[in-house]
């Protein structure tokens, strides 16, 4: 066995295997985690997520993950095949709570759930009777994580949310913190569903509207889905208020069951990301194994004599396989050791990038797959070299091994060129998309905008806004219920005296009129309404051009300004007069654009956010505003944030995918270049005599280098073309998850190809430079 001997490229082999394994296994582990997502669900094969589906006249059917609160109770009543059904709905995310002693603690997620929640989403109940607690208003369970953070032994104690200080909750029990690879990994507080009315509108019995609930059912193992469907139809027929449904222009309304075992991978974003990660992982592993084999073939010259001598002495073929497999195993183990070191060093970074810790990535859920991958790598690294060694003719025991095996080497190189180009193409697409998302004109200007989340809806927000506006660094302020980048509720438009619902729009509810200059919205028709000088609201509606255009289609109004409309949520008693039309702006983010028309009402009530337009968004100006907030409301713990950062947070997944592909691309390029360097060095060594002869015969330095350039270019050019094709295909697949996306330009891929070509040329140039400029007599003499 020749494991760590010099001249066998051992370091290169282990290094490239370690890089390939680290990236490849981490990515495969991530994909495997996605496949195993929500393993906490009990009897997963029979659990279904319930979605809401409706079809409007002349439109395709639309489907939403959320349902109204009454869906699960109604479905359970009508469908005996349902063993258990449960709902949950988020109430607070990343906020703070206060204990009776006044101590404040942050927590992650807080939800309302039904009493049988833990029958579906399984985790150990460490303290308390979950069913009983979740059936009682004002009771909750907390996670072990939060229990420890609060000091332990919290059962029986009460707390209140900072955002709702007058509504105490009693801790009735403790549940084991959910697995990291689950929907509820950040769940800290599980409140009983009967408590919901204390905090917000209680729509738990609604079968229309207030669709904020995620609903799940477990069916009997022998459930006949056709029967379930028929029973659901009966329920829909008898329970749904069809008059209201039809009045809203909806033709068909129903619920759909999606098996949770598949639903995660059916999500386009998850599916596409998994495909990309899997491809990058395969590329990395493939490149590493290819490189290993390439190095083995390249170093064959120095080993062929030993192999031939062993053959002459009667060594059977299997001995060479044993040797190569033994070496590959040792190299693989060393590479895994290096990988472990890399994982340890980069664990925080990996967690941030992959959304899972190293221990979760390499846990029981993924270990079998990862071991199988390692086994495949071992076979790849042991089998082919064994075959090659077993084919070395015995005659090389007596003379110099000169077979070049160029077909093998060039084939392996070609693979690596294809993979590198492909990754670079994907990288350039992701990079452009991310850049586009961050820099695209959203129809409003957030460059110098900061904002404060107001934890408690109160009139003090109005006062705070006025105080902040007095600062010299502040140009405008505006309170609003929701930020443009958030998901918006929906409402339908009606006309006074006519119950027909015209169209659905994104309702931003209340925002101060000063939001127009604050976000630099462009008023195209009407007048900019005045901001109210007191806490309250006016029946003045500001709509976007899409809204005006749709209204015109339904009413024929050339100018919607001055007209009065009704909305389903505000009701008939509150007619809204359109006072201004603003140029269309992007609602949501470019990762998921809300295409609906938009409307908001001039007012400062129910404000959850305070937008601040600064002269310039400098740390000094932010600090000035922060100091004022701290001085005015020292207990409110207000934080001044950059709007741009919030927007960037919404693109974090894209950023992570980009970063992963960057790493994959650089690593694949590195491995490829190591392989290319090895190939060229080997070729230079093998052809040194020929090169010397050519030089003696008059070849110039550039002519000698051109010889290598030509032979590599013959492989690189077609490989790069294939790489572009594959890269473009995968890029288009990746772009499917974005509603607003960059176009795939051939010229960009051509630049990628050129870049790969230049890197290859540079490596060949540098590697051949020495032999091309050295004294040819030296090489002739060594022969």
């Amino acid at each position: 066995m020749n494991v760590l001997h010099r001249g066998q490229g051992t370091f290169i082999k282990i290094f490239s295997l370690a890089i390939g394994l680290t990236i490849g296994l981490v990515l495969i582990a991530k994909v495997q985690l996605e496949r195993n997502y929500d393993r906490c669900i009990v009897d997963r094969e029979h659990v279904y997520a319930v979605s809401e589906s409706f079809k409007k006249q002349g439109q395709d059917a639309a489907e939403f993950e959320n349902t109204p609160g009454g869906a699960i109770p109604a479905l359970c009543r009508y469908i005996p095949e349902i063993m258990v059904g449960s709902r949950y709905t988020y109430q607070f995310v990343n906020e703070k709570l206060m204990l009776e002693n006044g101590e404040r603690f942050s927590f992650n997620h807080s939800v309302f759930v039904d009493s049988c929640f833990f029958d579906i989403f399984g985790t150990s109940i460490l303290q308390g009777d979950a069913r009983q607690i979740l059936s009682t208003a004002g009771q909750c369970l907390i996670s072990r994580r939060l229990n420890e953070r609060l000091g332990g032994n919290m059962v029986g104690k009460t707390f209140c949310y900072i955002a709702a200080p007058d509504r105490p909750m009693t801790i009735g029990g403790v549940f084991e913190t959910f697995d990291e690879n689950s929907t509820f990994s950040l769940l800290d507080i599980v409140m009983s569903m009967p408590s919901i009315g204390t905090f917000s509108y209680d729509g738990t019995a609604n079968l229309m509207g207030n669709d904020r609930y995620r609903s799940y059912v477990r069916l009997r193992p022998d459930a006949d889905m056709a029967k379930v469907e028929a029973e659901m139809n009966t329920m829909l027929k008898e329970q749904i208020p069809w008059e209201k449904v039809h009045a809203a222009g909806v033709e068909d309304y129903r619920f759909r069951f999606h098996p949770v075992s598949k639903s995660r991978m059916e999500n386009t974003t998850v599916k596409t990301t998994c495909i990309i990660l899997f491809v990058v992982a395969l590329v990395m592993l493939f490149a590493a194994v290819m490189n290993y084999i390439l190095v083995v073939i390249s170093t064959l010259v120095s080993r062929a004599r030993l192999v031939a001598i062993r053959k002459v002495l009667g060594a059977p073929q299997r001995e060479f396989y044993q040797t190569t497999f033994g070496e590959a195993l040792v190299h693989l183990l060393l590479a895994l050791a290096v990988m472990a070191l890399l994982l340890w060093v980069g664990q925080d970074w990996i967690r941030e990038l992959m959304g899972a810790s190293v221990t979760t990535l390499f846990s029981r859920q993924t270990l079998a797959v990862l071991l199988a991958v390692c086994l495949l790598v071992l076979v790849g690294c042991g089998l082919l070299p064994g075959y090659i060694y077993s084919r070395v003719p015995m005659v090389y025991a007596y003379r110099l091994f000169s077979e070049n095996r160029r077909v093998w080497k060039l084939s392996l190189l070609a693979f690596q060129f294809v993979l590198s180009t492909m990754l670079l193409c994907i990288l350039s697409t992701i990079y452009r998309q991310y850049d586009y998302m961050l820099n695209k004109d959203l129809g409003y200007d957030y460059k110098d905008v900061a904002y404060i989340e107001i934890p408690q809806q109160s009139d003090s927000t109005f006062t705070l806004a006025r105080e902040i506006e007095k600062l010299s660094c502040v140009e405008h302020t505006a309170t609003c219920m929701s930020l443009f980048l958030e998901k918006q509720s929906g409402n339908n438009v009606m006309l006074p005296g006519n119950p027909r619902q015209l169209f659905n729009f994104a309702c931003l509810y209340f925002a101060e009129a000063s939001i127009i200059p604050t976000m630099n919205l462009q008023v195209t028709r009407g007048r900019q309404p005045e901001r109210l000088g007191h806490a309250g609201w006016e029946t003045e509606a500001i709509v976007d051009e899409k809204f005006a255009s749709q209204l015109k289609q339904h009413t024929g109004w050339d100018d919607v300004v001055g007209h009065t409309i009704l909305s389903t949520e505000f009701g008939e008693q509150i007619p809204l007069t359109i006072v201004a039309v603003v140029k269309d702006f992007t609602l949501g983010t470019l990762a998921g654009v809300d295409e609906r028309p938009a409307l908001f009402v001039n007012g400062n009530i129910h404000a959850k956010n305070l937008l601040i337009k600064l002269q310039s968004l400098t740390p000094e100006h932010l600090a000035e505003v922060q100091q004022l907030c701290d001085r005015l409301y020292p207990d409110a713990e207000l934080t001044v944030k950059r709007y741009a950062n919030e927007l960037a947070d919404h693109y974090r997944d894209t950023e992570h995918t980009r970063d992963l592909v960057i790493i994959g691309c650089l690593a694949a390029l590195l491995i490829t270049l190591i392989g290319l360097t090895g190939y060229v060095r080997d070729e230079v060594q093998r052809r040194s005599r020929e090169l010397a002869i050519r030089k003696v015969m008059g070849a110039t330095v550039s002519e000698v280098q051109a010889l290598f350039m030509r032979s590599v270019a013959l492989v690189a050019l077609p490989s790069v073309v294939v790489g572009i094709g594959l890269g473009r295909h995968l890029s288009s697949l990746l772009m499917e998850q974005f509603t607003d996306k960059v176009s795939l330009l051939w010229r960009v891929f051509a630049i990628d190809a050129l870049l790969v070509g230049l890197i290859i040329a540079a490596v060949v140039f540098l590697q051949t430079r020495r032999v091309a400029t050295s004294n040819p007599a030296h090489y002739l003499k060594t022969e």
Binding site: G698, T700, N775
Partner: protein
């Protein structure tokens, strides 16, 4: 044609300094046939490398055909060497991947001679060397004598003024050795200057002058 004055060649490594040529002065006239003899390691091949512009001397002056070429850069040496100097080696140094015709054609390719003209020149020289029937064979399909004839054909194909031969018969049997020496003599008779390194007294007998070297110095010159 060749004038060397006080040529020195010193090979230096981190620990050792080896003087390969020590104050060598030599003059070779146009059309002369000079044999360089001496024991192994005396500097014969180093001298030949410097004469062939494969290497630069550490010190001293080398004038080739009126041009001082002692300290030229790599690219300049290649330019001067091209077409002016032909090389014949003991181990033939043919390129295995190229056939006879392509091997002989190689110097013309690097001189930029048009293809048609190249073919004509190659055919002519192969005929002269009586090896045309092997034009499409590869080196490994030829005998040692035939390979050396191909090597000589390659050395003379661009009609160089100077041929440098490094033990041209060292790998040949006596019959083939004699044939090769006769070819070189013929080339010299046609006006080509030849400097040949050899261990063979018999081969040296074909030259007009024998230069004897010892320990990097010329110790004796004998006119024949």
């Amino acid at each position: 044609m060749i004038k060397l004055e006080n040529i020195e060649k010193i090979f230096r490594t981190e620990e050792v300094e080896t003087v390969a040529l020590n104050s060598v002065s030599l003059e070779v006239k146009q059309g002369e046939f000079v044999a360089v003899m001496g024991p192994s390691g005396c500097g014969k091949s180093t001298l030949l490398n410097i004469l062939g512009l494969l290497d630069n001397p550490t010190n001293g002056t080398y004038v080739l055909d009126g041009e001082n070429v002692g300290q030229l850069k790599e690219s300049q040496r290649t330019r001067v060497r091209k077409g002016q100097i032909g090389f014949v080696f003991q181990s033939f140094n043919l390129i295995d991947e190229l056939n006879v015709e392509e091997n002989v054609e190689l110097p013309l390719t690097y001189l930029g001679v048009p293809k048609k003209e190249r073919r004509q020149c190659v055919e002519e020289v192969l005929r002269r060397m009586a090896i045309s029937h092997r034009a499409h064979h590869f080196p490994q399909q030829l005998s040692g004598g035939q390979q050396q004839r191909v090597a000589i054909a390659r050395a003379v194909v661009c009609r160089p003024k100077l041929i440098l031969a490094d033990e041209p018969t060292g790998n040949l049997d006596s019959k083939n050795g004699i044939e090769v020496m006769q070819l070189l003599t013929q080339l010299n008779a046609d006006g080509c200057t030849i400097v040949m390194v050899t261990h063979s007294q018999r081969d040296a007998g074909y030259a007009q002058r024998i230069v004897n070297m010892l320990d990097g110095q010329i110790v004796e010159q004998t006119e024949l």
